[in-house]
């Protein structure tokens, strides 16, 4: 067999492998969509009915009327959006401070922050919950947003990024008598936009999909985020208003983040790559 036909054969084998694996990957999602398009009574007979018609949009009509998903969607947008902004602000300021400025015990303080990377959320949950009880922050937006601001990953990332920017830039600005804050704001911050994008995407995805803290902090249905709201429907699985209806909620919850993913796919890939290099 010639080298070129061997190469062609290999290409076909690779493509076939990808198609099979890709199909397996997507089957669970396709099954979910199929179920969501069936009437609840059809599915009660047998879920095998989902392989053929009739299909209906009645579940989708039903959740617009009765379900809490819109409220949960709004809560998720508020919490994830504000948390992302908060992380970007705090991490940029701190990253600049650690990378560029001198102050007493700077290196020790930075080490203390690095140590935080090893602290799992679950290890602090009991006392954090007590703290927020004491401050009456449960079932509130600040209560849902604040814990995410403490994660050290952003500070670590931004510090590395600021360190990589040539010092000559600030030195020129110092000659012009610019203040520290002005150097940060006008000269360096615009250069960190790629890192801001990386951090922003990670923070938003992490916050949007966070289940652990909102599950513990938000106990009132009107303060549920999308993840917790959906879990409440799921835990009551036995008394569910119907499989089709439940699957419609899943589709509804998945669609916004999948749209965000498809739009920002290029940036997400770059963000992961960027974080890997760092």
């Amino acid at each position: 067999m010639s080298a070129s036909s061997q190469k062609k054969l290999r290409e076909i084998a690779i493509l076939a492998t990808l198609v099979v694996l890709g199909f397996i990957m997507l089957v669970p999602l396709m099954w979910t969509v199929l179920l969501s398009l069936k009437s609840n009574s059809d599915l009660l007979q047998s879920t095998a009915n989902a392989f053929h018609g009739p299909y209906t949009g009645e579940n989708y009509a039903a959740i617009t009327k009765s379900s809490g998903v819109f409220r949960w969607l709004m809560n998720s947008v508020i919490v994830s959006g504000l948390q992302t902004i908060g992380v970007l602000v705090l991490a940029s300021l701190a990253g600049y401070g650690f990378a560029r400025l001198e102050f007493p015990y700077r290196d020790q303080i930075f080490l203390l922050v690095l140590f935080g990377l090893a602290i799992p959320e679950q290890a602090v949950i009991i006392t954090r919950h007590q703290l927020f009880t004491g401050l009456h922050l449960h079932n509130s937006y600040p209560g849902l947003i604040l814990p995410g601001l403490a994660a050290p990953f952003g500070v670590f990332l931004m510090t590395q990024y600021f360190k990589a920017i040539p010092k000559e830039l600030d030195e020129a600005a110092i000659l012009d008598n610019a203040s520290r804050f002005k150097i940060f704001w006008k000269v360096l911050l615009p250069l960190t936009i790629p890192a801001q994008a990386t951090l922003g995407i990670f923070t938003f995805l992490g916050s949007w999909n966070d289940y652990w803290w909102p599950l513990i902090s938000a106990t009132r249905a009107d303060m549920f985020t999308l993840t917790v709201g959906l879990s409440a429907s799921q835990i009551n699985f036995a008394q569910t208003s119907g499989l089709g209806y439940l699957m419609t909620q899943a589709v509804f919850a998945a669609v916004p983040i999948l749209i965000v993913y498809i739009i920002f796919q290029k940036y997400i890939v770059r963000a992961v790559a960027g974080a890997a290099i760092r």
């Binding site: 493509l15 694996l21 990957m25 997507l26 089957v27 669970p28 999602l29 979910t32 047998s46 095998a48 392989f51 602000v89 701190a94 400025l101 102050f103 007493p104 303080i109 203390l112 935080g116 090893a118 602290i119 799992p120 679950q122 290890a123 602090v124 949950i125 009991i126 006392t127 919950h129 007590q130 703290l131 814990p147 601001l149 403490a150 050290p152 590395q160 010092k167 600030d170 030195e171 999909n209 289940y211 513990i216 999308l226 993840t227 959906l230 879990s231 799921q234 835990i235 499989l243 899943a250 998945a254 983040i257 993913y261 796919q265 890939v269 992961v272 790559a273 890997a276 290099i277 760092r278």
Partner: protein, 292 residues
């Protein structure tokens, strides 16, 4: 010049790090230390409690339910980390090219990673549940009995592992892809000139150049999968007979369902110790890279 920059550091410079540091100390360090303290008390929901020393820890090591959850967690890590280290590498090797087809499949394999655990479990419950799940529909086609994916204590953790691999393989795949893209192209060109076979190129060039990424992915996944919680909490509530209850679910149940907070705090110290060790290993492995 740089003397002007590094003029004797003053506390006012620390104002830049102060806002973050305040949040960090209040919401991460304080709860950590307070949790260590709390683990030495017999305390209920309202905090008031009596000092019991290490009695909570002694109780943990006698507690069958806790020991089972530790064993479950290690079993789960052993089930998930190898496939999550190898499978994404294979995918990355297949997809390390700039064609549109490759970009499409990268998108497909990463898509599950952007979903939340509640969506993932809802979707997979519809596959694995023994009455009406997709899997049982398929086995019925062949006239076979449905497999008790979620109710057989021997199988349930394997089911959790399948779900988790499906959910998590996108991120390591992306990490491998970015590592593969940093392998200098001219090495491959040289190999091609030497008529090196595909396998030989893979063994002698590609794999050695991503070996560090392989180790990093393995450790990263260890840390991540030790924190298993949502999948069993949502699908099986830890059952049957506690066969799918991981450490984090134990902490959750003791702390927020039975409100035995001192005891739960003690269990979370054990989790912290395990994860701290894994993170330290990761730190030293990354360190070896030198410059960074």
């Amino acid at each position: 010049m740089s003397r002007a920059l590094s003029q004797k550091g003053s506390w006012t410079n620390a104002l830049f790090v102060a806002p973050y540091l305040f949040v960090y100390l209040c919401l991460l360090i304080y709860p950590l230390i307070a949790g260590m303290g709390l683990s030495l008390f017999k305390a209920d929901l309202f905090g008031g409690g009596s000092f019991v020393g290490f009695e909570n820890f002694a109780r943990l090591f006698r507690d069958e339910v806790f020991l089972q959850s530790v064993a479950n967690t290690f079993y789960f890590v052993a089930l998930t980390v190898p496939p999550l280290t190898v499978l994404p590498l294979l995918l990355a090797l297949l997809l390390n090219r700039t064609t549109r087809v490759a970009a499409f499949f990268r998108g497909v394999f990463f898509s599950s990673s952007v979903l939340s655990v509640t969506i993932v479990t809802l979707v997979w419950r519809m596959i694995l549940m023994s009455e009406g799940g997709l899997a049982s529909n398929i086995t019925a086609l062949f006239g076979a009995d449905a497999i008790a994916f979620l109710s057989d204590p021997k199988i349930v953790m394997i089911s959790m592992a399948i779900i988790t691999v499906w959910w998590c393989l996108g991120l390591p795949m992306m990490l491998y892809l970015s590592a593969l893209q940093q392998v200098p192209k001219d090495i491959y060109e040289a190999a091609e000139l030497d008529n090196a076979s595909w396998w030989r190129t893979l063994w002698s060039i590609t794999l050695p150049s991503v070996s560090r990424t392989i180790i990093l992915v393995a450790i990263f996944e260890c840390v991540l999968q030790f924190q298993l919680f949502g999948q069993p909490q949502l699908i099986t509530q830890g059952g049957p007979n506690g066969a799918s209850r991981p450490i984090v679910l134990f902490i959750f149940e003791i702390g927020f369902r039975r409100w035995d907070v001192g005891y739960a705090a003690a269990a979370s110290q054990i989790l912290f110790a395990i994860i701290l060790i894994a993170t330290l290993v990761q730190y030293f492995v990354t360190r070896k890279r030198g410059v960074q």
